[in-house]
Symmetry: C2
Subunit: 234 residues, 2 copies
Amino acid sequence: MRILQAIMKKFAVIVAGGSGQRMNSAVPKQFMLLQGKPLVWHAINAFLSAYEDLQVILVLPAVHLQAAEKIRRSFLAEETRIFPVAGGESRFQSVKNGLALVTDPSIVFVHDGVRCLVTPDLITRCYTQALEKGSAIPAVRATDSIRIITADSHRVADRNDVRIIQTPQTFQSQLLLPAFDREYDESFTDEATVVEAAGHRVWLIEGEHENLKITRPADLLIAETILQERSSLQ
Amino acid sequence: MRILQAIMKKFAVIVAGGSGQRMNSAVPKQFMLLQGKPLVWHAINAFLSAYEDLQVILVLPAVHLQAAEKIRRSFLAEETRIFPVAGGESRFQSVKNGLALVTDPSIVFVHDGVRCLVTPDLITRCYTQALEKGSAIPAVRATDSIRIITADSHRVADRNDVRIIQTPQTFQSQLLLPAFDREYDESFTDEATVVEAAGHRVWLIEGEHENLKITRPADLLIAETILQERSSLQ
């Protein structure tokens, strides 16, 4: 097992393609600064820190490839582990473009670039489970009650049955690559749904409540606070 | 309509009954400090600020009635608008104890004491809708994908159909009081489910993403950050 882990290649496809619409900002959110570094820098850094032999495939709009290059160089000696790639029209196409650089057999993490608070601990737990079961989809329980909208009203969902899904969604390449070898379908809302459509079951794993997706201006403040707290604990 | 609003009595039943288990703290979370004031102080303050003629019924464990008295007096001239009440075994029983002080006809807000970031804006919107439709249940859309656990696996939910439920859950007293005049049932996870069990439809209203339920230590930091941001904008 230890030998298998050592030889198993690791790729993190980090998708940083948002438009920043909900942030009311001219700067796309993946480039907004957190502790003086772009959001996506923090995500890349977590993956590079988790495994020395992991390679990051950074997918972002073609228009931002220069910005990506700058971020890549800021990692100095580690810059050779980062590969910027132009994304596509959809999340599905962007991930597919990133996967073109992945080689078999490997473990592939697909991660939202704006989930900048992901920890090496979650990354290594996902890796281990994906190695054992084929996949690891981080999920947390809901703190609040959840309702489901129905045709004419809405109904309460059993909170015990609800899971909030995060990334990195992690897979063995032998499952993930063939699953993406198809046309886009609107049911593909994340990588788990693509792999399920290919006929595979996906396995959840306990996520982290702090593994937020930075979506609104308040989220940026929240992330700054959490990062400061983490630094002060070190 | 204006006259109706003026004469309609308003009660906020604020339930502050948590044990603080998930906060790893000896101090129950409703009393943890945020900008130097207990969490529940901020919730009370939002309701007192929203309407001059609103009365707060503060429900908390009997063992904390002295702490409640101290919080009440800290509101100085407004202290006569706050009524501490001992809670019961369950959320349902605690709310029921609080409702004993409510008089008909009125609009009743039932609020989690640890949702200390609630704004007077949300409170007044809930009031208006409850007056018009009978109820107002604040709800926000999910930022993340949601999965529902099934008997042997789990399936993705359509994110457009998922709503995260908040408080204040707001009702006309003529709906709420009779609905609580029954025995506890384990399906009563909030006030909306109690009113539905009495045969009424409840109406959602747009909530606020910042209207967090303070559950974990990180949430307290987040709330502190958001409150600081709000003060700096004033």
